[in-house]
């Protein structure tokens, strides 16, 4: 089986969820009650808007992740062929990782890794 397996599994996932949803809709009881459809907040009425503003810190980590993850993307091809390349590849990756690490240290020093 070749690459179509990916599509098959994708469809399988869709069918599983859709089918189970359908089944559940068939056999589950239904009752309409507005109070039931209120957002859950430990039993109390919600206060203020429920789509609250969250900390900017989440974005900070998202950005950090984005950067480091992309660096990992560069490491992947390197890692695969490293054994064939030898010394030059080692030196280059040490430089690369040094700069990367320096970036991390900088972010650390600047308090980007602090969760407050």
């Amino acid at each position: 089986m070749g690459s179509e397996a990916i599509i098959v599994f994708f469809l399988a996932g869709v069918i599983l969820v859709a089918g189970a949803n359908f089944l559940s809709n068939l056999i589950s009881p239904k009752s309409d009650n507005l109070q039931k459809r209120e957002p859950y907040e430990s039993g109390m009425k919600t206060i203020g808007p429920t789509w609250v503003q969250f900390k900017v810190g989440y974005y900070l980590f998202a950005i950090l992740f984005l950067i480091f993850d992309v660096e990992v993307a560069f490491l992947v091809p390197w890692a695969v062929v490293f054994a064939d390349l030898g010394t030059v590849a080692l030196v280059e990756i040490i430089i690369f990782l040094f700069i990367l690490g320096l970036g991390l240290a900088y972010a650390w020093k600047k308090g980007a890794l602090k969760w407050e």
């Binding site: 690459s3 900017v56 974005y59 998202a62 950005i63 984005l66 950067i67 993850d69 992309v70 660096e71 993307a73 560069f74 091809p77």
Partner: protein, 105 residues
């Protein structure tokens, strides 16, 4: 190479993607949407590179390498843009384009 799919079809797709991006960039009013439109443009180029490489010039990997770098650059760009947009949001509580129009002409 995907069997049964010719390069023309993929290139048509990427062109459509590209123009959706450009259209979105021009018409969208939300900074984040604009950013996403730009990403569409970049991704269309990435697909282009990979496909052209794979279909037309499979002996060299130039297109592939290029696409990795585009991804990296796009990530950096997004990171920076998002950071700036967040900064704007924190000051203006809005990311609509019309809020960022204090300077004219």
């Amino acid at each position: 190479m995907i069997p049964g799919v010719s390069i023309t079809e993929i290139l048509t797709l990427t062109s459509i993607l590209f123009f959706i991006g450009v259209y979105g960039f021009i018409t969208r009013k939300n900074l984040v949407s604009i950013l996403i439109s730009v990403e569409l443009i970049l991704n269309s180029s990435v697909i282009n590179f990979v496909v052209i490489n794979k279909y037309l010039y499979p002996e060299m990997l130039q297109g592939m390498v290029y696409s990795i770098f585009i991804i990296a650059v796009a990530a950096a760009e997004t990171a920076l843009a998002v950071a700036i947009i967040i900064n704007i949001y924190r000051r203006l509580s809005s990311v609509e384009v019309k809020e960022t129009e204090t300077m004219k002409y």
